[in-house]
């Protein structure tokens, strides 16, 4: 193996966004003209707000290495991938790439609904940098992989979404780049499709090609990568063996928000007198988290205000899997004693907090929905997708076998093994 060869070398890489350009996006000519008349441009240039999405990033990836990248949303992971795949330019520093870069976030780029499957394969291949001869050589393979033989001369607008994705993925997967970039966060599609993406990724890695894998899924990072970069606020905090990096990431509260604060326009006017404020996921020391460990207990709290007193109010949560199946429902007045004590809730500010016990949830992504209602009288407020969080299986029962366990819950059960000799 050519392990000594460098595939990617990044040196002091930085990317600065002007808030004016990245947030407001495009402007009209009139705005620019009137601004340039009103103000002296030399001064505004200095004062303009800028954000370093990435700064002082230095690392190397050897050929054939699979490197994980973790960090919360907005940490700069996607910016890094965009720079390495030459979509956007760095503001400072330098990156050296040896070989063709392919990425699984480009799936379906340039697909046109009016064109047939056959035409889209040619076009998409060309956009991804394949030569015409190369596309022709791999054409049959791509069609077979996507299982769309029968529909190859049908416009893709008539494809089911599954077929569309399979075809798009097949083209990207047959690009055979020397360096593969995967942004799991951006990957679309159902669980089956994501599984296919991950499968393809480990194939690529086994063939000795270089992979850069960005994910929020800690168990996938653990399974697929040896080393991982931890990025936060545009800085490279740590490069370490993946288990160590994940430990660092989870224990330093670097996970993403884990909190939702409802904006005024998200609250329907008929919610009155119930006024939701925020929902949070906290670890047992009260720190807001978005990724919790399966083996640790954690808390979910809903903060709200009652403008008037409400009779028979119950505030609760739905826990829903990433695929939309209900895991459980629970209300703050489930317990009879609570129910009697809070039969009437006077106006004021409240927090309803529950504890999710250790060893309950399996690894994966879950959604919390919120419901505030009085049984058979009125529903004041409902937000089915208030918050998303991840459960990490590190140390969970059965982790000696690094396979994905089926099911939403992962209880630690007391097993007895009777021996009869």
């Amino acid at each position: 193996m050519t392990t000594d060869h460098i595939a990617i070398r990044v040196e002091d890489l930085g990317k600065r966004y002007h808030i004016g350009t990245s947030m407001i996006k495009y402007r009209t000519l009139r705005e620019t003209l009137s601004e340039s008349f009103r103000t002296n441009r030399q001064f505004t240039k200095q004062d303009e707000d800028t954000i370093w999405a990435l700064r002082h990033i230095t690392f190397e990836v050897k050929q054939g290495q699979v490197l994980g990248v973790i960090g919360r949303n907005g940490a700069g992971k996607s910016t890094l991938l965009k720079i390495l795949s030459r979509v956007t330019e760095p503001t400072e520093g330098l990156a050296e790439i040896h070989g063709r870069v392919g990425s699984l976030l480009e799936v379906g780029t340039g697909f046109h609904p009016e064109l047939t499957g056959r035409e889209n394969i040619s076009l998409n291949g060309a956009i991804l940098g394949m030569r015409r001869a190369e596309i022709e050589r791999k054409f049959d393979e791509i069609v077979a992989f996507a299982e769309v033989e029968k529909f190859i001369d049908t416009p893709v607008k008539r494809y089911s979404s599954g077929m569309y994705l399979r075809l798009a993925f097949a083209v990207a997967a047959h690009l055979e780049p020397e360096i593969l970039v995967v942004d799991e966060v951006l990957a679309v599609g159902d669980a089956e499709f994501q599984r296919k993406c991950l499968g393809k990724m480990s194939d690529v890695a086994k063939e000795g090609r270089t992979v850069l894998f960005v994910s929020h899924n800690m168990s996938a990072i653990l399974r697929l990568t040896e080393e991982t970069l931890v990025i936060d606020k545009g800085n490279l905090l740590l490069r370490a063996p993946s288990s160590e990096a994940i430990d660092f990431y989870l224990s330093h509260g670097l996970t993403q928000e884990g909190q939702k604060i409802w904006a005024k326009d998200e609250i329907p006017s008929n919610a009155h007198p119930f006024n939701p404020i925020a929902i949070r996921i906290l670890n047992m020391t009260g720190k807001i988290m978005d990724t919790v460990r399966s083996v640790d207990p954690f808390m979910i709290e809903i903060e709200y205000e009652l403008k008037e007193s409400i009779t028979g109010l119950r505030v609760g949560i739905y826990l829903v899997s990433a695929r939309g199946e209900f895991v459980f429902t629970s209300f703050d007045t489930d317990e009879l004693s609570q129910y009697e004590r809070f039969a009437q809730r006077p106006a004021g500010r409240y927090i309803s907090r529950c504890t999710i016990p250790a060893n309950l949830l399996n690894e994966g992504r879950f959604m919390i929905g919120v419901n505030a209602s009085s049984y058979k009288i009125r529903r004041y407020f409902q937000d089915e997708q208030a918050l998303v969080f991840n459960v990490d299986p590190a140390g969970a029962p059965g982790m000696q076998w690094p396979e994905k366990r089926l099911g939403f819950i992962r209880p630690l059960l007391k097993w007895v093994i009777e021996e009869n000799h």
């Binding site: 050519t2 060869h5 595939a7 966004y17 350009t21 990245s22 996006k25 495009y26 402007r27 009209t28 000519l29 009139r30 620019t32 050929q63 965009k82 720079i83 390495l84 795949s85 030459r86 979509v87 956007t88 330019e89 760095p90 503001t91 400072e92 520093g93 330098l94 990156a95 050296e96 790439i97 040896h98 070989g99 063709r100 976030l105 480009e106 780029t109 340039g110 046109h112 009016e114 064109l115 035409e119 040619s122 076009l123 060309a126 956009i127 991804l128 940098g129 030569r131 015409r132 416009p155 020397e178």
Partner: protein, 278 residues
Amino acid sequence: MATKTESRAIIIRPSQGWAALNLKDLWVYRELVYFMTWRDLKVRYKQTLLGASWAILQPFLTMVVFSIFFGELAKVPSDNVPYPIFSYTALLPWILFSKALQDASKSLVSSSHMITKVYFPRIILPLASILAGLVDFIIAFLVLLGMMWYYRIVPTPNIWTLPLFILLALTTAIGVGLWLSALNVLYRDINYATHFITQFWLFITPIAYPASMVPEQWKLVYALNPMAGVVEGFRWALLGSSDPPGLTLGVSVVVALFLLISGLFYFKRMERLFADMV
């Protein structure tokens, strides 16, 4: 394998100021130019009711209207050529040019999903949309040959120069198209400006009237519009009705080259911002 990948090392670093033109990259991606042109054509004709006949209808109907109002009613002189042929010959390169401007100026914004996800030389997008117009041009040109047969007009021996005038029209279109497409990413009101520019440009180009109407002392100023040179060249090469190209054509070529080169550099300079702004 190691040596092969070694030779392909790509260095990514901030480009400074007026970046050097990376035309080598365009060569590497030359097949994409073909594919994007082909896509533009295919999609255009699949989504329209009349398909490729639009390529004929647009210049032909314009010619009919021009012939009635300018030729018959206003009695605009047409250098002793039947007015329909006189105007249709001019409308061909004009429609190639005006469509190119309109399609090119929209090309980047309408492909934003590609720009934000994959690297390829962005210049391919306006280029392909301009080249797609060439096919329309060829179809409409066949109609011109039919009309010339009908009016018993034999092309002059200078017809071999026609591709050069087409090239001049394309050079101008690419130059202006690059400016407009890049500006359109930064300022969305360029779209309105494009409509205005093409309308305005139509009047300063000798399409409905002969260039011979322009007073002699203004000829050189008039030639600053490269499309005037193109249209006059078309009439000279096909109908033999205009003056042979001279100093005015030279002025047109210089202006077209200036537009092309400045367009290339402006586009290149703005290219790095596209993914962040589009």
